[in-house]
Subunit: 148 residues, 2 copies
Amino acid sequence: MSDPLIYRRILLTVDEDDNTSSERAFRYATTLARDYAVPMGICSVMESEDINIFDSLTPSKIQAKRHHVEDVVAEYVKMAEAEGVAHVEPLVYEGGDVDDVILDRVIPEFKPDLLVTGADTQFAHSKIAGAIGPRLARKAPISVIVVR
Amino acid sequence: MSDPLIYRRILLTVDEDDNTSSERAFRYATTLARDYAVPMGICSVMESEDINIFDSLTPSKIQAKRHHVEDVVAEYVKMAEAEGVAHVEPLVYEGGDVDDVILDRVIPEFKPDLLVTGADTQFAHSKIAGAIGPRLARKAPISVIVVR
């Protein structure tokens, strides 16, 4: 009980919207990663299957969207580095269901012990409506902070 | 985006069971409160109405349970102080529904900006089955961390 509990690998989810809770989630993840000098992954998920089926985009439009998500994540990485976080990794994924992608691929591959997400963070084109935070707080095998 | 985000008042929920996630939640809340020198409230809720109705306890048994919850919280307060947290407040509440008690009374009165709870934390005799963390992560007006 008397050992400090410090998270050693922080995973931040970001979406394309600049909502307040996403900004505060970024600020909290950055504060922790810098103050405790731990690595941080910045993750966004593009639901490529949905884009194909429901938006009927051409391959070049899908590619443009992919680049846009990569740019958004790269921008966050740059900001985190500017805030003094030494190790920041961009994590851009595609797949059929954002929750499954995070639970089955992002977490096992990046191996975070804390997931930081804004209360209003949700990925564009997601099949599942609503913010990802409370769902992942229930389903993830690691600690989850929902930032407001 | 470049301001650090530091929580200024931390609310930890504890239950009577010594499960791993409650212990880790205590360790995380204590680490934050000490490292950032912020006050911490330690809260437990007794669903007194349920105890009356479903357990058919005598007033003296209810009183014994009340004292037990107070003792559990006091023990956590003592441990937090021993870990170097300067301001720790015991918060023992009674009411009909744990979620409502936390949302409508504990949070407005203690005014935390972060709620820390174990993934398996649940109060004894609660009408609502299951851990309080993921529910409060969805419903609370403040940031919530569910610790595993």
